[in-house]
Amino acid sequence: MTANQKLYFYPVWLRIWHGLNAIGILTLIFSGISMQSSIESAHLLSFKTVINLHNIAGILVTLSYFLYFVGNLVTPNGKFYIIKPKGFLKRPIQQAIYYAWGMFHGMKAPYPISEKRKFNPLQKYAYVLVMYMAVPVVIITGFALLFPEIIIDQVYAFSGVFVTAVFHSTMGFFISIFLIVHLYIASIGKSPLENFKSIFTGWHEVH
């Protein structure tokens, strides 16, 4: 590997998806929190506007999710998300140790990114959990809440709508936490802004 090798990591379709998803998810988090905390918190927008905004952003995220899903099926990008059983726990733990201790003690990154490895193991796990579990659950429950007649009436003693709403907001919350961590980890690079530049230009510099 040569110094300052440039890799074209983020093709146009992926950057479009990432951009739409970012706008959509940020809008959903803002409007979701606003709805949860009742209308009195709606100093900027009325409750009704916030609901509409949430619904529209939800549809935007759903559409962009299809782009992501199909994109990963038809392009080589999908293979970066495959988790292998070998070192299932060891590999992410090594990466976690690197972030928590190693990077401050001169340790080299255990899984440096390359043409073949776009994500480190911890990153891969987080992306798979968010993109193949949390986001689909939020999309499905979100659409169920848009059309409550498709929700089963009772789940044991609880209203089906209520259980759906709990799943929806719980997963929404985990996506919010992911976003915070995602933005922070993205700042770990040669310079704090380097990775943010990459997602705009598509090129990633490997050192």
Partner: protein, 312 residues
């Protein structure tokens, strides 16, 4: 005939007479008042023209005899409250100018009605927007029809029935331009429009009493009669959609929670109280989410401090 037989006959006649008073509303055609006041039309002798004439009855003077026989005042006859002079027909025109008895004239200061808190209700009512705007012109009967009132909230086990009955009292004026204008002097605001901000408006109107948001709820009084001005009406979702719910504090607390806990469907109430607003309605999840959020922030702050310190 011996004395005993005469006494028996007298008792039967008296019994029939006493009985007829209470039951007379059921046989409207033979009731002195209802034979006209339960009909759409009435007939009178026009002495100027010298012939009988048929006219339309004022719709506000037509009584629903079915509701009348179900009402709390069914044992009383019309002239127990209205002037006995109404017994003559045509009625004297000045009779309608006479003041009617108020509820407190009968119900006030009577120990047998203590549990109904009539005096307290009157105190609360005098603070209400109804009294502030209309004064003494606004009386109990504006909401509680003396003719047909049923204490549904005390007698019914069905929440929807209680809600419906209670809301119809409000809607009888607030959704009726003529009646509203008679009391207030201006047109009634359009309810659907003024509640435009309320999510799931139709569902709320069906399942929640107007007074839940439009009165000051007091634990000591089963139904508050202090109807608040609209600026003070409740507009916070969490007041009801939270673990310690306002709804539970009033109607559900008094009427249904106990009954449902007896028949085992308390779980249904628990499920309903957190209807649709999401995980913030489950206290454990709320605490967990706050904890996770702050731990994440602390983690980031600690890590970035090390990065700054170690220049990484």
């Amino acid at each position: 005939m011996n004395n005993r037989f005469i006494r028996l006959i007298l008792l039967l006649v008296l019994g029939t007479f006493l009985h007829s008073n209470a039951q007379s509303y059921q046989n409207a055609q033979h009731h002195q008042c209802l034979k006209c006041h339960s009909n759409q039309t009435y007939t009178f002798f026009n002495s100027v023209k010298g012939k009988d004439e048929k006219r339309m009855m004022n719709p506000y003077f037509i009584l629903d005899t079915v509701a009348l026989t179900a009402g709390v005042h069914k044992p009383f006859d019309c002239t127990d409250c209205h002037s006995s002079e109404y017994g003559t027909y045509p009625h004297k025109s000045n009779l309608k100018l006479e003041p009617l008895s108020t509820c407190l004239d009968c119900h006030g200061g009577d120990a047998s009605f203590a549990s109904y808190h009539f005096e307290r209700i009157d105190e609360e009512f005098r603070k209400s927007i109804h009294f502030q705007v209309s004064g003494e012109n606004f009386n109990c009967s504006k909401c509680h029809s003396q003719h047909t009132y049923v204490a549904t909230a005390r007698t019914s086990n069905n929440v929807l029935e209680i809600v419906d009955y209670s809301n119809k009292m409000c809607l009888s004026c607030h959704n009726d331009m003529k009646k509203y204008k008679t009391v207030s002097g201006h047109e009634n605001p359009k309810l659907v429009q003024v509640h435009d901000w309320l999510p799931n408006q139709e569902l709320h109107f069906k399942n929640v009493r107007c007074i839940e948001c439009h009165t000051e709820v007091l634990d000591s009084l089963k139904v508050s009669h202090n109807i608040l001005p609209k600026s003070k009406a409740l507009r916070k979702c969490v007041e009801c959609h939270s673990a310690d719910s306002r709804l539970k504090a009033s109607l559900y607390k008094y009427q249904n929670l106990q009954k449902r806990s007896v028949d085992g469907s308390i779980k249904m109430v628990l499920a309903n109280e957190s209807y649709v607003i999401g995980s913030h309605q489950i206290p454990h999840l709320k605490i967990a989410s706050i904890l996770i959020f702050f731990l994440t922030l602390i983690g980031i702050i600690v890590h970035s401090s090390f990065r700054i310190f170690k220049k990484k």
